[in-house]
Every structure is written in structure tokens, then in C-alpha cells.
């Protein structure tokens, strides 16, 4: 993002923008490049592989249809994340999702995930401790309010800069930081709790 801002100031944005628009035109390459990232974001937000897949496909379709609206003032990854964020929000609001969320158990999902988690070089006892810690963080992140969870995932899983998160979510950087502080405080509290 900072590099992009420098390019804007140097008046060299146009070639960069043209390259990004060309990238948008080729939907197959676009999917191949960003699919895993968008799917991961959707999966962790929704915790439903089928719905995450649907959101991912919809994200690329919308991006292709709206490619003329892409102004090139942010990276393609940020722009796609913004589209995905809106789609995830819509999916969460849907009644069907609310119903399935009510009947499903996040502990089961986290347990299954922790079992698959590879921990090379760790003893069985240490591995168990790590899995317990993971379950606590998993539950704490799952219990976060919508925006705090989104900001947490984008910063610590997708490793986006604060300014990129602000662009993707349509928030001020200060608001993003505030959400992150609250999310981290909740995660810390979750980790300190005894199950």
C-alpha cells in the first residue's frame, strides 16, 4: 500500500493501474492468484466450507463484472477483500446462516481442526498444550463481534497493513486499531480462562 501511494505521488500509477486492470480481465488467472486467500478469509469468517466456496466464486464474478469501477487506488488483493467482506456480511445476515450457526458447535470444528494441525518437533505433551491453547483462541475469535473478528483475521491471518484493512472495510485507520485492541484483549482474556 505504501509503495502504491509512492507511485501515485510519483505520477507512475497509470502503468500499475493498467497492469491491474489487465489482470482483472483474465478471470482464470485472477482466481488462480487470489482464490486461496479469499477462500481462507471467507472460511475463517463463516466457518462453513460450502458457504466459503460460494462466497469466493461470487467474489470473483462480482469483481469481473465491476472491473470498470476499479480505479486502481488500492491493490487488487485489497479490492477483492472489500468485495468479499460485503459478501460475507450478507451471508452472515442471511436467515439460513443464522439457523445453521445456531445448531452447529464451534468446539467440534475447532477440535477437528486442532487434530489436523501439524506440530512437527513437538512432544505429545507439548502438542496437547498447543492444541488446548488453539481451542481457546479459536473460541475467543469465534465469539468476537463481526467487525472485530474481520479486523483480527485481516491483520493476523492475512497480514494486511492497517491502511489496507481500513480501505477494505471502509473504516478509518484509527477505528481499525480500536477494533484490533478490543479483539486482542478478548483473545488474551480467552487464553487466560481455564476450561
Amino acid at each position: 500500500m505504501e509503495a502504491l501511494e509512492q507511485l501515485i505521488q510519483a505520477g507512475e500509477l497509470s502503468p500499475v493501474r493498467d497492469r491491474m486492470i489487465a489482470e482483472l480481465e483474465d478471470v482464470t488467472t485472477l482466481c488462480a492468484t487470489y482464490r486461496s486467500r479469499i477462500y481462507r478469509y471467507a472460511l475463517l469468517s463463516l466457518r462453513d466450507p460450502d458457504l466459503a466456496d460460494s462466497v469466493t466464486q461470487d467474489c470473483f464474478l462480482r469483481a469481473y463484472k465491476a472491473r470498470d469501477e476499479f480505479r486502481g487506488d488500492c491493490s487488487l488483493a485489497t479490492w477483492l477483500t472489500r468485495i468479499a467482506t460485503n459478501l460475507i456480511r450478507d451471508a452472515v445476515r442471511s436467515r439460513k446462516f443464522q439457523f445453521w450457526k445456531m445448531v452447529s458447535s464451534t468446539a467440534v470444528e475447532a477440535g477437528a481442526m486442532a487434530d489436523r494441525l501439524r506440530a512437527p518437533g513437538l512432544s505429545a505433551e507439548s502438542s496437547l498444550v498447543v492444541k488446548e491453547e488453539l481451542l481457546k483462541v479459536w473460541d475467543a475469535v469465534g465469539a468476537l463481534p463481526g467487525k472485530q473478528r474481520t479486523v483480527f483475521l485481516l491483520r493476523f491471518v492475512e497480514e494486511m497493513e492497517l491502511s489496507e484493512i481500513a480501505t477494505a472495510m471502509g473504516l478509518h485507520v484509527g477505528t481499525v486499531k480500536s477494533h484490533l485492541h478490543r479483539a486482542l484483549a478478548a483473545v488474551r482474556k480467552g487464553m487466560e480462562s481455564t476450561k
Partner: protein, 165 residues
């Protein structure tokens, strides 16, 4: 010599954005704060690791289905060729347009004559005293009437047809 430990907010600030030099200085000196930050960082780190792993495994089981796009754009070079083909045609049409405008227009068809004009024409024909088929007789009458109005009433060529004594 440090006087106090980092607050939880400062520890979070370090994890969120590691650029603050005063936090780095404190963490370099304070083992207790360093341990607290490391615990939180470790929690975030194992979550990230598990999330990436879970997502990759989940994605691997799914077929690669790209969204189908029905609408295709014309490539830019095709549009350029179309433009290059249309422009000469347009110029030709514009060049020929003055000739087309200056050429005489065809006469209006009879049907196009208005009713008023037609009625006026009929009135003119009716107002004539002598029909057109008998106009030559009127010439004869007018020629002889000056000298001897009773001698020649009608002539064919130079020969009198009717003579009176």
C-alpha cells in the same frame, strides 16, 4: 532503568504495530513484559498457523471451479480496425453531400399539386370565352372585321370559305 511495566494496551500496540521504538526499548530491558507479549503473540501465531493449514486442506478437497463469464469484450485492436474502416466511409459521405444537395430536384408529381391550385386552373379554363379548339376562328374574325365585316366570315388558308356578295 525502567520504572513500570507495559500496560496491556501497550502490549497489544506492540503486536498490532511494531514500529514504536519506546516499546522496543522497554521490551529489550523487561523480561516480564517480554514474556507477556510472547504469550499473546504465540496464541495469535498458532491460530494463524492452524487457520492457514485448515483452509489449505479444505481448499484441496474442492474442485477448481472458476466462475463462468458469458460476456466477452472486444479486444482493443479490433475496435481500432473497426474505427479505421468507418472513418473513410464517413469522410466519403461528407464529401459527396454538397453534390447531392446542389443537383436539381425532380419535379413534383401531379398528385402533389394542392387542391387550391387545381381549382384555380379549372376556373381559368372556364373563364376563357372561346374553347382552345376554336381559337383559329377567332383570329379570322378579328382579321376581317376591320375592312368588311360582312364579306368573309371564315377562311381556310388564303381561300375564303364563305363569301357574300
Amino acid at each position: 532503568m525502567k520504572t513500570s511495566h507495559l500496560t496491556t494496551w501497550e502490549q497489544e500496540e506492540y503486536i498490532i504495530n511494531r514500529r514504536a521504538p519506546q516499546l522496543l526499548r522497554h521490551l529489550a530491558e523487561c523480561a516480564e513484559c517480554r514474556a507477556a507479549v510472547a504469550r499473546l503473540e504465540h496464541g495469535v501465531s498458532i491460530f494463524r498457523h492452524a487457520a492457514v493449514e485448515w483452509s489449505a486442506q479444505s481448499l484441496a478437497t474442492r474442485p477448481e471451479s472458476w466462475p463462468t463469464v458469458s460476456r466477452k469484450r472486444l479486444p482493443v485492436h479490433a475496435l481500432r480496425w473497426a474505427f479505421a474502416a468507418v472513418v473513410p466511409l464517413l469522410l466519403l459521405v461528407l464529401a459527396l453531400r454538397p453534390f447531392h444537395l446542389s443537383s436539381p430536384r425532380p419535379a413534383q408529381p401531379a398528385a402533389a399539386i394542392s387542391d387550391d391550385a387545381l381549382l384555380e386552373q379549372v376556373d381559368e379554363q372556364l373563364s376563357v370565352a372561346v374553347p382552345s379548339s376554336m381559337e383559329s376562328l377567332t383570329h379570322l374574325v378579328s382579321a376581317d372585321s376591320g375592312s368588311n365585316p360582312g364579306t368573309a366570315a371564315y377562311t381556310r388558308g388564303s381561300k375564303p370559305i364563305v363569301q357574300t356578295n
